[in-house]
Protein backbone atom coordinates (compact mmCIF):
# COMPACT_ATOMS: atom_id res chain seq x y z
CA UNK A 1 0.00 0.00 0.00
CA UNK A 2 1.10 3.53 -0.68
CA UNK A 3 1.32 6.17 2.01
CA UNK A 4 -1.90 7.89 0.93
CA UNK A 5 -3.85 4.63 1.06
CA UNK A 6 -2.46 3.83 4.51
CA UNK A 7 -3.39 7.32 5.64
CA UNK A 8 -6.94 6.84 4.38
CA UNK A 9 -7.20 3.46 6.06
CA UNK A 10 -5.98 4.79 9.43
CA UNK A 11 -8.09 7.92 9.08
CA UNK A 12 -11.22 5.85 8.51
CA UNK A 13 -10.84 4.15 11.89
CA UNK A 14 -9.17 6.85 13.98
CA UNK A 15 -9.93 10.20 12.36
CA UNK A 16 -8.61 12.18 15.36
CA UNK A 17 -5.24 10.45 15.44
CA UNK A 18 -3.74 12.03 12.34
CA UNK A 19 -1.96 15.36 12.42
CA UNK A 20 -1.70 17.19 9.08
CA UNK A 21 1.81 17.03 7.61
CA UNK A 22 3.60 19.23 5.10
CA UNK A 23 3.04 18.69 1.42
CA UNK A 24 5.17 15.83 0.17
CA UNK A 25 6.03 14.47 3.61
CA UNK A 26 6.91 10.78 3.50
CA UNK A 27 5.53 9.99 6.94
CA UNK A 28 2.35 10.14 8.97
CA UNK A 29 2.14 12.43 11.97
CA UNK A 30 0.06 11.31 14.90
CA UNK A 31 -1.12 12.56 18.24
CA UNK A 32 0.14 10.60 21.23
CA UNK A 33 -3.36 10.13 22.64
CA UNK A 34 -4.53 7.58 20.07
CA UNK A 35 -1.18 5.99 19.40
CA UNK A 36 -1.79 2.78 21.34
CA UNK A 37 -4.96 2.04 19.37
CA UNK A 38 -3.47 3.08 16.05
CA UNK A 39 -0.42 0.90 16.64
CA UNK A 40 -2.68 -2.06 17.30
CA UNK A 41 -4.55 -1.31 14.11
CA UNK A 42 -1.32 -1.05 12.10
CA UNK A 43 -0.19 -4.37 13.42
CA UNK A 44 -3.36 -6.41 13.09
CA UNK A 45 -5.42 -4.86 10.29
CA UNK A 46 -5.78 -7.29 7.39
CA UNK A 47 -4.61 -4.77 4.80
CA UNK A 48 -1.84 -3.13 6.84
CA UNK A 49 -0.21 -5.94 8.81
CA UNK A 50 2.88 -4.06 9.92
CA UNK A 51 4.52 -6.88 11.80
CA UNK A 52 8.06 -5.48 12.04
CA UNK A 53 9.19 -2.38 13.87
CA UNK A 54 12.47 -1.77 12.10
CA UNK A 55 13.57 1.19 14.16
CA UNK A 56 12.41 3.66 16.73
CA UNK A 57 14.27 6.94 16.86
CA UNK A 58 14.01 9.85 19.22
CA UNK A 59 14.74 13.31 17.87
CA UNK A 60 14.96 16.87 19.07
CA UNK A 61 13.99 19.79 16.86
CA UNK A 62 15.91 22.29 18.95
CA UNK A 63 15.48 24.37 22.10
CA UNK A 64 11.88 25.44 22.61
CA UNK A 65 10.65 23.00 19.98
CA UNK A 66 8.98 19.67 20.67
CA UNK A 67 10.71 16.32 21.03
CA UNK A 68 9.68 13.55 18.72
CA UNK A 69 9.79 9.86 18.09
CA UNK A 70 9.87 8.29 14.64
CA UNK A 71 8.70 4.71 14.16
CA UNK A 72 9.79 2.85 11.03
CA UNK A 73 7.47 0.00 10.28
CA UNK A 74 7.65 -2.74 7.71
CA UNK A 75 5.23 -5.44 6.72
CA UNK A 76 6.72 -8.81 5.89
CA UNK A 77 3.36 -9.95 4.49
CA UNK A 78 2.46 -6.95 2.38
CA UNK A 79 5.99 -5.69 1.74
CA UNK A 80 5.20 -2.09 2.41
CA UNK A 81 6.77 0.42 4.74
CA UNK A 82 5.60 3.31 6.87
CA UNK A 83 7.12 5.99 9.03
CA UNK A 84 5.06 7.40 11.87
CA UNK A 85 6.11 10.46 13.83
CA UNK A 86 4.76 11.58 17.15
CA UNK A 87 5.78 14.83 18.77
CA UNK A 88 5.37 15.81 22.39
CA UNK A 89 6.33 18.86 24.45
CA UNK A 90 9.85 18.97 25.92
CA UNK A 91 8.69 18.86 29.50
CA UNK A 92 6.59 15.95 30.64
CA UNK A 93 6.01 14.58 27.15
CA UNK A 94 4.28 11.19 27.31
CA UNK A 95 3.74 8.63 24.57
CA UNK A 96 1.98 5.29 24.99
CA UNK A 97 4.43 2.40 24.84
CA UNK A 98 4.17 -0.07 21.99
CA UNK A 99 6.51 -2.59 23.60
CA UNK A 100 3.66 -5.06 23.91
CA UNK A 101 2.81 -4.73 20.23
CA UNK A 102 6.33 -4.82 18.77
CA UNK A 103 8.91 -6.34 21.11
CA UNK A 104 11.64 -4.35 19.36
CA UNK A 105 10.25 -1.26 20.96
CA UNK A 106 11.12 -2.36 24.46
CA UNK A 107 14.82 -1.51 24.35
CA UNK A 108 14.43 1.24 21.77
CA UNK A 109 11.96 3.06 23.97
CA UNK A 110 14.36 2.74 26.86
CA UNK A 111 17.03 4.30 24.68
CA UNK A 112 14.80 7.20 23.68
CA UNK A 113 13.95 7.64 27.34
CA UNK A 114 17.61 7.47 28.32
CA UNK A 115 18.89 10.01 25.82
CA UNK A 116 15.89 12.30 25.24
CA UNK A 117 13.81 11.98 28.38
CA UNK A 118 10.61 10.97 26.63
CA UNK A 119 8.34 8.94 28.87
CA UNK A 120 6.62 5.89 27.44
CA UNK A 121 3.47 5.14 29.37
CA UNK A 122 2.87 1.45 29.99
CA UNK A 123 6.44 0.34 29.29
CA UNK A 124 7.25 -2.78 31.34
CA UNK A 125 10.67 -1.59 32.55
CA UNK A 126 11.44 2.02 31.75
CA UNK A 127 15.00 2.51 33.02
CA UNK A 128 18.10 4.01 31.49
CA UNK A 129 19.67 1.51 29.15
CA UNK A 130 23.05 2.97 28.13
CA UNK A 131 23.98 5.61 30.66
CA UNK A 132 24.54 4.83 34.33
CA UNK A 133 21.45 4.90 36.50
CA UNK A 134 22.58 7.98 38.41
CA UNK A 135 23.22 10.11 35.33
CA UNK A 136 21.54 13.49 35.30
CA UNK A 137 19.92 14.99 32.22
CA UNK A 138 19.27 13.70 28.74
CA UNK A 139 22.41 14.07 26.62
CA UNK A 140 21.00 14.03 23.08
CA UNK A 141 18.75 17.01 23.75
CA UNK A 142 20.16 19.98 21.94
CA UNK A 143 20.15 22.15 25.05
CA UNK A 144 22.08 19.58 27.09
CA UNK A 145 25.03 20.82 29.11
CA UNK A 146 27.64 18.25 29.99
CA UNK A 147 28.34 17.93 33.71
CA UNK A 148 31.65 19.08 35.20
CA UNK A 149 32.01 15.97 37.32
CA UNK A 150 30.59 12.49 37.35
CA UNK A 151 31.13 10.73 40.68
CA UNK A 152 34.14 12.92 41.32
CA UNK A 153 35.70 12.25 37.89
CA UNK A 154 36.20 15.43 35.84
CA UNK A 155 34.27 15.21 32.58
CA UNK A 156 35.43 18.08 30.29
CA UNK A 157 38.93 17.85 28.87
CA UNK A 158 41.52 19.62 30.96
CA UNK A 159 43.01 22.09 28.46
CA UNK A 160 45.42 23.88 30.77
CA UNK A 161 48.81 24.27 29.16
CA UNK A 162 47.51 23.83 25.63
CA UNK A 163 48.31 27.28 24.26
Amino acid sequence: MELAAIQTRVGAVHPDALVPTDEGAAYLSMTPEHWADVAQLLRSDEELRFNVLMCLTGYDRGPGEPLGVAYNLHSMDKLHKLEVRIEVPRDGGKIPSVAQIWRTAEWHEREAYDLFGITFVGHPDLRRILLPEDWEGYPLRKDYKEPDYYRGIPVPKDKRGWE
Binding site: P132, P139, I153, P154, K157, D158
Partner: protein, 164 residues
Amino acid sequence: MAVSLVNRFEQDNIIVEQIDNLLNWARAGSPWYFQFGLACCAIEMMAAAAPRYDLERFGAMPRSSPRQADVMIVAGTVTLKMATRVKRLYEQMANPKYVISMGSCANSGGPYWQYGYHVLKGVDLVVPVDVYVPGCPPRPEALMQGLLELQKKIKEDTPLRRVS
Protein backbone atom coordinates in the same frame (compact mmCIF):
# COMPACT_ATOMS: atom_id res chain seq x y z
CA MET B 1 69.21 -10.04 34.16
CA ALA B 2 72.32 -11.84 33.00
CA VAL B 3 74.19 -8.56 32.83
CA SER B 4 74.04 -8.00 36.56
CA LEU B 5 75.04 -11.48 37.64
CA VAL B 6 77.26 -11.09 40.63
CA ASN B 7 79.03 -14.37 40.27
CA ARG B 8 78.65 -17.49 38.22
CA PHE B 9 80.29 -20.86 38.81
CA GLU B 10 80.09 -22.66 35.53
CA GLN B 11 80.95 -26.08 36.88
CA ASP B 12 78.51 -26.19 39.80
CA ASN B 13 75.49 -24.55 38.16
CA ILE B 14 75.49 -21.97 40.92
CA ILE B 15 74.70 -18.32 40.36
CA VAL B 16 75.09 -15.61 42.95
CA GLU B 17 72.58 -12.86 42.40
CA GLN B 18 70.61 -10.21 44.26
CA ILE B 19 67.11 -11.23 45.29
CA ASP B 20 65.80 -8.00 43.80
CA ASN B 21 67.02 -9.05 40.42
CA LEU B 22 65.61 -12.52 40.79
CA LEU B 23 62.18 -11.13 41.60
CA ASN B 24 62.34 -8.64 38.77
CA TRP B 25 63.40 -11.33 36.37
CA ALA B 26 60.38 -13.41 37.37
CA ARG B 27 57.97 -10.50 37.25
CA ALA B 28 59.18 -9.08 33.97
CA GLY B 29 59.11 -12.52 32.42
CA SER B 30 55.44 -13.17 33.13
CA PRO B 31 53.37 -10.02 32.79
CA TRP B 32 49.98 -11.71 32.63
CA TYR B 33 47.61 -9.09 31.45
CA PHE B 34 44.08 -8.34 32.40
CA GLN B 35 42.36 -7.63 29.13
CA PHE B 36 40.19 -4.58 28.95
CA GLY B 37 38.94 -4.70 25.39
CA LEU B 38 36.65 -1.69 25.40
CA ALA B 39 36.46 -0.57 21.78
CA CYS B 40 38.22 -0.78 18.41
CA CYS B 41 41.68 -0.92 20.03
CA ALA B 42 40.73 -4.28 21.50
CA ILE B 43 40.89 -5.78 18.03
CA GLU B 44 44.56 -4.82 17.78
CA MET B 45 45.18 -6.19 21.25
CA MET B 46 43.62 -9.48 20.18
CA ALA B 47 45.78 -9.47 17.07
CA ALA B 48 48.82 -8.90 19.25
CA ALA B 49 47.87 -11.90 21.36
CA ALA B 50 47.11 -14.11 18.38
CA PRO B 51 49.74 -16.31 16.72
CA ARG B 52 50.90 -13.81 14.12
CA TYR B 53 52.31 -11.42 16.71
CA ASP B 54 52.24 -13.78 19.67
CA LEU B 55 52.55 -11.71 22.83
CA GLU B 56 52.96 -14.92 24.73
CA ARG B 57 56.58 -15.23 23.69
CA PHE B 58 57.21 -12.36 26.13
CA GLY B 59 55.40 -14.32 28.82
CA ALA B 60 52.28 -12.22 28.52
CA MET B 61 49.15 -14.26 28.80
CA PRO B 62 45.60 -12.86 28.73
CA ARG B 63 43.63 -13.31 31.92
CA SER B 64 40.00 -12.54 32.52
CA SER B 65 40.22 -12.09 36.26
CA PRO B 66 41.93 -9.23 38.08
CA ARG B 67 43.12 -11.67 40.75
CA GLN B 68 45.39 -13.49 38.33
CA ALA B 69 46.72 -10.50 36.44
CA ASP B 70 49.82 -8.35 36.84
CA VAL B 71 49.25 -5.85 34.07
CA MET B 72 46.06 -4.17 33.03
CA ILE B 73 45.94 -3.29 29.34
CA VAL B 74 43.23 -0.69 28.90
CA ALA B 75 42.50 -0.99 25.20
CA GLY B 76 39.83 1.35 24.01
CA THR B 77 37.35 4.03 24.90
CA VAL B 78 36.70 4.25 28.61
CA THR B 79 33.22 5.59 29.20
CA LEU B 80 32.41 7.20 32.51
CA LYS B 81 30.14 4.28 33.31
CA MET B 82 33.06 1.92 32.70
CA ALA B 83 35.56 4.17 34.49
CA THR B 84 34.09 3.35 37.88
CA ARG B 85 34.44 -0.34 37.05
CA VAL B 86 37.98 0.04 35.71
CA LYS B 87 38.96 1.61 39.00
CA ARG B 88 37.31 -1.09 41.05
CA LEU B 89 38.91 -3.89 39.04
CA TYR B 90 42.29 -2.21 39.31
CA GLU B 91 41.89 -2.16 43.06
CA GLN B 92 41.12 -5.87 43.02
CA MET B 93 44.43 -6.74 41.34
CA ALA B 94 47.20 -8.03 43.56
CA ASN B 95 50.41 -6.04 43.93
CA PRO B 96 52.66 -5.49 42.09
CA LYS B 97 50.38 -4.20 39.39
CA TYR B 98 50.95 -2.16 36.28
CA VAL B 99 48.78 -0.42 33.73
CA ILE B 100 49.33 -0.04 30.00
CA SER B 101 47.06 2.53 28.41
CA MET B 102 46.56 1.59 24.77
CA GLY B 103 45.35 4.03 22.15
CA SER B 104 44.38 7.69 22.09
CA CYS B 105 41.09 7.04 23.81
CA ALA B 106 42.59 5.51 26.90
CA ASN B 107 45.46 8.02 26.82
CA SER B 108 43.46 11.19 26.52
CA GLY B 109 39.90 10.69 25.36
CA GLY B 110 40.91 10.31 21.72
CA PRO B 111 38.37 11.44 19.14
CA TYR B 112 35.92 12.13 21.95
CA TRP B 113 38.02 14.70 23.75
CA GLN B 114 35.71 17.58 22.88
CA TYR B 115 32.15 16.33 22.49
CA GLY B 116 32.23 13.03 24.30
CA TYR B 117 30.03 13.85 27.27
CA HIS B 118 30.23 10.21 28.35
CA VAL B 119 33.94 9.49 27.72
CA LEU B 120 36.66 9.58 30.32
CA LYS B 121 39.38 11.96 29.11
CA GLY B 122 42.26 9.63 29.80
CA VAL B 123 42.30 6.54 31.97
CA ASP B 124 45.05 8.14 34.07
CA LEU B 125 42.28 10.15 35.72
CA VAL B 126 41.21 7.02 37.60
CA VAL B 127 44.20 4.64 37.69
CA PRO B 128 47.99 5.26 37.59
CA VAL B 129 49.38 4.46 34.14
CA ASP B 130 52.88 3.05 33.59
CA VAL B 131 53.10 2.98 29.81
CA TYR B 132 51.14 4.92 27.22
CA VAL B 133 50.90 3.44 23.75
CA PRO B 134 49.90 6.13 21.24
CA GLY B 135 47.91 5.49 18.10
CA CYS B 136 44.35 5.19 16.93
CA PRO B 137 44.54 2.25 17.02
CA PRO B 138 48.18 1.40 17.75
CA ARG B 139 49.42 -1.50 15.65
CA PRO B 140 50.21 -4.74 17.46
CA GLU B 141 53.91 -3.91 17.12
CA ALA B 142 53.29 -0.74 19.09
CA LEU B 143 51.59 -2.66 21.85
CA MET B 144 54.47 -5.09 21.86
CA GLN B 145 56.90 -2.22 22.23
CA GLY B 146 54.77 -0.90 25.08
CA LEU B 147 55.04 -4.26 26.79
CA LEU B 148 58.80 -4.32 26.29
CA GLU B 149 59.04 -0.84 27.78
CA LEU B 150 57.06 -2.06 30.74
CA GLN B 151 59.40 -5.00 31.15
CA LYS B 152 62.32 -2.57 31.18
CA LYS B 153 60.57 -0.58 33.83
CA ILE B 154 59.88 -3.67 35.92
CA LYS B 155 63.52 -4.69 35.71
CA GLU B 156 64.60 -1.40 37.20
CA ASP B 157 62.35 -1.86 40.19
CA THR B 158 63.81 -2.58 43.64
CA PRO B 159 61.03 -4.56 45.32
CA LEU B 160 62.93 -5.38 48.52
CA ARG B 161 64.14 -1.88 49.12
CA ARG B 162 60.85 -0.20 48.39
CA VAL B 163 60.03 2.48 50.93
CA SER B 164 56.31 2.78 51.31
